[in-house]
């Protein structure tokens, strides 16, 4: 290690400039965090509205779902989409993985809301690419360093969606829709089969994916109760 001994200013050995430039770097980071937080807080606030609308699925009869829950929910999601776009523009100026923990939770909530709405509407699982199209942001970027939706975000959101559907299964029965639990059961099992393919490490995704099997069981129990009592509709209304 050869370094020319530079003549220092006030102290020859400990250059104060080292520390003033460090402080500058820390302060810059604080400024970036503040900027991003503004967007995330807006997104979070809108997210609470979306969630409160979506929670009405548990006490809304299936035939009223479209008009009284899904339509207003898509409107709320449209507002969130605008905020995501703003966040994306702001965040893309900075290294994605340095900051993504700030918005991860709220972005996952948006994805989950989209997945849930779409499944309730037509029984399809929104793909990662479709999530990206809806939010108008890229997905799964691997070389370009910009804002995007990650595979982990998508999968974590999916575990929340599954949980919400498992809650819906008994509630749908309460509302008189005996076909819903069967649809949910098929979907949850299919997703569970998917999660079983993943080689998970000991992280958040593993814990959440492990939770999926409890959802499978919960929905199974409902279906079992119904079939035991001959309450399952004769023509399975799947998809």
């Amino acid at each position: 290690m050869t370094t020319p001994a530079l003549a220092g200013s006030s102290s020859p050995h400990v250059d104060p400039a080292i520390f003033s430039s460090l402080q500058t770097k820390i302060d810059q980071e604080q400024a970036i965090r503040d900027e991003l937080r503004t967007h995330v807080e807006a997104l979070s606030k809108q997210g609470r509205l979306t969630q409160s609308i979506l929670s009405r699925i548990h006490n809304t009869p299936t035939d009223e779902l479209e008009a009284s829950v899904l339509a207003p929910c898509y409107d709320a999601l449209l507002e969130q989409t605008k905020t995501v776009k703003e966040l994306a523009q702001s965040a893309s100026q900075y290294p994605f993985y340095k900051w993504n923990s700030i918005w991860q939770r709220d972005i996952q909530a948006v994805i989950s809301s989209l997945q849930l709405c779409d499944w309730l509407k037509d029984g399809n699982l929104l793909t990662l690419e479709e999530v990206g199209q809806r939010l108008d942001v890229p997905v799964n970027l691997k070389s370009e360093d910009a804002f995007h939706i990650t595979v982990e975000d998508y999968l974590l959101a999916l575990t929340s969606t599954i949980e919400e559907l498992a809650r819906l299964a008994p509630n749908a029965v309460t509302l008189g829709d005996y076909a819903r639990p069967l649809q949910i059961s098929k979907f949850v099992k299919d997703v569970h089969a998917g999660f079983q393919l993943l080689n998970l490490k000991n992280d958040i995704l593993r814990r959440r994916a492990d939770g999926v099997k409890y959802s499978v069981k919960k929905v199974e129990d409902v279906v079992y109760d119904l079939s035991l009592r001959g309450l399952i509709p004769k023509t399975p209304a799947t998809e």
């Binding site: 290690m1 370094t3 001994a5 530079l6 220092g8 102290s11 020859p12 050995h13 400990v14 250059d15 104060p16 400039a17 080292i18 520390f19 430039s21 460090l22 402080q23 770097k25 820390i26 302060d27 980071e29 604080q30 965090r33 290294p95 994605f96 993985y97 340095k98 699982l125 793909t127 990662l128 799964n140 970027l141 691997k142 070389s143 370009e144 360093d145 595979v151 982990e152 999968l155 099992k189 299919d190 997703v191 089969a193 998917g194 999660f195 393919l197 993943l198 080689n199 998970l200 490490k201 995704l205």
Partner: protein, 269 residues
């Protein structure tokens, strides 16, 4: 887009089977997710391994440097003969993960490499201080990493904190063997102690709250640094007061530090 399909440990993929009444339509898309996650975990593990190895090598360098008996002169040949291969090992290790830490991945895996980089910084900063009696600047330190690896100021600062512990150990040993403070024989007004005190006050002045990763460790590290500097202060005090009558095998008394528990923590970093 899905990668090559591998049959991996014990998990047979029975796609066209009739074991369950129907196969999930999501299997292909999850196969894609699996290959993405596998790639991520493989890379992560490679980086963690390198980080551990770099940490181990850096600790060895620091150990060897503690045998130095001079301050402000080039590292003695016997020591530098020992540490040169370690430096090149570290270089090779870091070089091997440069491709894994490019672009968007630099920050993605930062948490997995930071431990190794911090320890390496400690070694580099310590070695530089021993050889020149100067604290290496951030830019100089950044140049010690292979091209393609970016030094974060967090790793630099945390390495700097840890280095003060090494300076303490060096100063105490030096006083025990030479009966004077390193740096004082040149007649210059600044000794290792004044340098440490200056470092302490500069570090104390930093407001780390703006950096998430820094503020997490900052107060703990600062406490340890304070303890280290007080140890040297007490050592110098006892050397001056009782220095004249010191018997053979005398060591500066550092027991004046109030909290022995904190003193132990110096070693644990």
């Amino acid at each position: 887009m899905a990668g090559t399909k591998r049959s991996h440990d014990g998990m047979k993929i029975d796609r066209p089977s009739a074991s369950s009444e129907q196969t999930s339509p999501f299997i292909p898309v999850f196969e894609f997710f699996r290959s993405e996650l596998d790639e991520h975990h493989d890379r992560r593990e490679r980086i963690i391994k390198v980080s551990r190895d770099v940490t181990a090598q850096s600790k060895k360098i620091i150990f060897a440097l503690q045998r130095a008996r001079e301050l402000g002169r080039p590292i003695h040949a016997s020591i530098s003969k020992q540490i040169t291969p370690m430096h090149s090992t570290i270089r090779d290790l870091l070089q091997s993960i440069v491709p894994d830490l490019q672009g968007i991945n630099a920050c993605r895996y930062y948490g997995n490499i930071t431990g190794g980089i911090q320890e390496f910084m400690e070694a580099v900063l310590f070695q530089h201080y021993l050889a020149t009696q100067r604290v290496m600047s951030f830019d100089e330190a950044a140049a010690q990493l292979p091209e393609g690896l970016v030094l974060t100021y967090e790793d630099y600062v945390l390495g700097l904190f840890d280095m003060t512990g090494e300076l303490m150990r060096f100063a105490i040993t030096y006083m025990a063997t030479n009966g004077q403070l390193p740096g004082s024989e040149t007649g210059s007004s600044s000794t290792i102690l004044t340098d440490m005190q200056l470092l302490r006050s500069e570090l104390e002045r930093l407001d780390a709250s703006g950096s998430y990763s820094l503020s997490r460790d900052f107060s703990q590290k600062l406490r340890t640094t304070r303890t280290s500097i007080e140890k040297v202060e007490n050592g110098v005090y006892s050397m001056i007061v009782r220095g004249k009558e010191r018997p053979k095998g005398w060591r500066p008394d550092v027991s004046l530090t109030d909290a022995p528990r904190e003193a132990d923590q110096v070693d644990s970093y």
